[in-house]
């Protein structure tokens, strides 16, 4: 069981009035140091949480633009994997941690600016400007 689990008693949780949120880090543009095994594991864990593409540079020199959606941890880097989709291929792919030399958070963070407060601010500005049919629209896919 992880250290995080068992942090709170059942009664503490039951009495909760407002729930603490999860802290989203600003990772877009970040290039983590991945010199040690621990650094690489921690950086890939953040890449798994990241809502944008990253660029993986393999020890072979190959560069892969990828959306990492899963990680499978093993005892060693050689038997730990990330699973990802690339923009150009339809199938899922995976690569061993041991093959990864560099990680860059190159893609746009798609969760950034999507807070409720952002919408309220935008709405109030548009309303004050006299706009009608105010809406947030999904980003274009192409």
């Amino acid at each position: 069981m992880t250290a995080e689990v068992m942090k709170y008693t059942l009664q503490q949780v039951e009495d909760l009035e407002l729930a603490p949120g999860f802290e989203h880090e600003k990772l877009e543009g970040w290039i983590p140091t991945v010199a040690s095994d621990d650094e690489l594991r921690q950086a890939l864990e953040k890449a798994f949480d990241y809502r944008g593409d990253v660029t993986l540079t393999l020890k072979s020199g190959e560069r892969i633009e990828a959306f990492i959606f899963n990680r499978i941890g093993g005892a060693t880097l050689a038997d730990s994997y990330v699973q990802y989709f690339t923009p150009s291929a339809s199938e899922k792919r995976k690569v061993s941690y041991a093959e990864i030399a560099r990680l860059e958070f190159t893609g746009k963070d798609r969760a950034e600016g999507k807070h409720w407060e952002d919408w309220v601010k935008k709405y109030n500005e548009k309303k004050a400007a006299g706009e009608k049919n105010i809406a947030l629209v999904p980003e274009a896919l192409d």
């Binding site: 069981m1 992880t2 995080e4 689990v5 068992m6 942090k7 709170y8 008693t9 059942l10 503490q12 949780v13 039951e14 009495d15 909760l16 009035e17 407002l18 729930a19 603490p20 949120g21 999860f22 802290e23 989203h24 798994f48 949480d49 809502r51 944008g52 593409d53 959306f67 959606f69 899963n70 990680r71 499978i72 699973q83 989709f85 690339t86 923009p87 150009s88 339809s90 899922k92 798609r110 969760a111 950034e112 999507k114 807070h115 409720w116 407060e117 952002d118 919408w119 709405y123 009608k132 049919n133 105010i134 809406a135 947030l136 629209v137 999904p138 980003e139 274009a140 896919l141 192409d142």
Partner: protein
């Protein structure tokens, strides 16, 4: 009682068979997400924040059917994204109907009226239309003015054409119970089969983490909303789950009760948390560390969760799995839950007229540590 007898019978016999065969972990509802693409951009939604190449991907009908057969759940909920944007959604629905699965197609209904002629009414198919409140509240909640009117038009057309229709609403901190009760009247007048509701939950992938109620506040809100019911209100949910929301029952989460499948695979541990994926349902069930999830685990990611995908399976299993539970369910279907204290909560909640369903002021933050002092 909003759920048809045939559906209740299917679920009841399924639960009893599982108990007789000694299955400890079995699914009741498959959460089948055929795509993440959506035609809305609701602030705070954690389901659609992906790069375009991910949003363009979708499950094929064959992948959907394989997932349904692999897990064997008697009910299939199709959320997303917006399922009506999937070009083969009719084929997927027809294939599931042919397999006699009870389907809840969850839609924002922006495309519903236009697409209805492609579907055939069936006891197996329900359109579950996302409606978070009256016109003003819903439009603000989905970040689109005019959304409510389009959705209601879709609902009325679907009802007229003989489809099963429910509405589903999520309530956040700042919800005024009186407004919600007025909204229930409005929805039932549209001719829907029943109402589905759930408290919001700050699952970690949601970008918006500031306006979620803790469990104590959820119970107070739902006690005010769901006590002293009007006879016209019907809920397409287990009465025991509603009692859980009102604080009358203590339940643990049954995350495997509503397994989720999407383009990434089988999601662990549940529909809302994304702690990874497996290739098969069997692997999901056998390799997930279930003891690390749910309120009793102490996992902070689960701390304020009381949502239906985790707790309604617990209620359904109790309802169909024991005589006591079954009796509670029967009583719940006919009770108005008279409660003087709840009536006082209701009267106290809106001394100055109806409030917004959603809180737009800066919410107060409270850490878990603060609540313990």
């Amino acid at each position: 009682m909003a759920v048809p007898i045939s559906q209740m019978w299917t679920v009841a016999t399924y639960v009893l068979k599982k108990r007789l065969t000694g299955d400890k972990r079995y699914p009741l509802v498959l959460m089948l997400e055929p795509l993440f693409r959506c035609n809305l951009a609701c602030a705070g939604c954690g389901k659609v924040q992906y790069p375009p190449h991910i949003l363009k991907k979708q499950l094929s009908p064959e992948e959907c059917f394989a997932a349904v057969e692999e897990c064997g759940a008697p009910m299939v909920s199709i959320p997303g994204g917006e399922p009506l944007l999937h070009p083969q959604i009719v084929e997927i629905v027809n294939g599931l109907v042919a397999r006699k699965k009870y389907i809840y197609l969850c839609t924002n209904a922006l495309e519903l009226k236009r697409r209805l002629p492609e579907f055939t009414p069936s006891k197996y198919l329900t359109f579950s239309v996302h409606l978070d409140g009256d016109r003003e509240h819903h439009d603000f909640s989905i970040c689109r003015e005019g959304g409510y009117d389009i959705a209601v038009e879709g609902i009325k057309e679907a009802v007229k054409r003989g489809f099963r229709v429910t509405t589903n609403a999520t309530f956040f901190d700042g919800t005024d119970p009186n407004t919600v009760r007025g909204f229930f009247d409005e929805v039932m007048d549209m001719g829907v089969e029943g109402i589905v509701l759930s408290p919001g939950y700050s699952y970690d992938k949601a970008p918006d983490q500031n306006r979620f109620m803790g469990r104590a506040r959820v119970r107070r809100l739902f006690r005010a909303i769901l006590s002293n019911r009007k006879p016209t209100w019907k809920f397409n949910m287990s009465p025991l789950f509603l009692e859980f929301l009102m604080g009358d029952r203590k339940y643990e989460c049954t995350p495997w009760g509503s397994p989720a499948f999407n383009i990434f695979g089988w999601q662990r541990p549940c529909y809302l948390l994304q702690d990874g994926y497996t290739e098969t349902y069997k692997e999901l069930i056998e390799t997930t560390k279930w003891e690390e999830y749910g309120v009793a685990s102490g996992n902070p990611k689960c701390a304020n969760c009381m949502v239906s995908c985790g707790y309604e399976p617990t209620a359904v299993i109790e309802g169909f799995g024991s005589l006591k539970g079954f009796w509670g369910m029967v009583k719940g279907n006919f009770s108005m839950y008279k409660d003087a204290h709840a009536l006082k909560l209701l009267n106290d909640s809106a001394p100055h007229g109806p409030a917004k369903l959603v809180q737009i002021a800066e919410p107060a933050h409270a850490s878990m540590a603060e609540t313990n002092q």
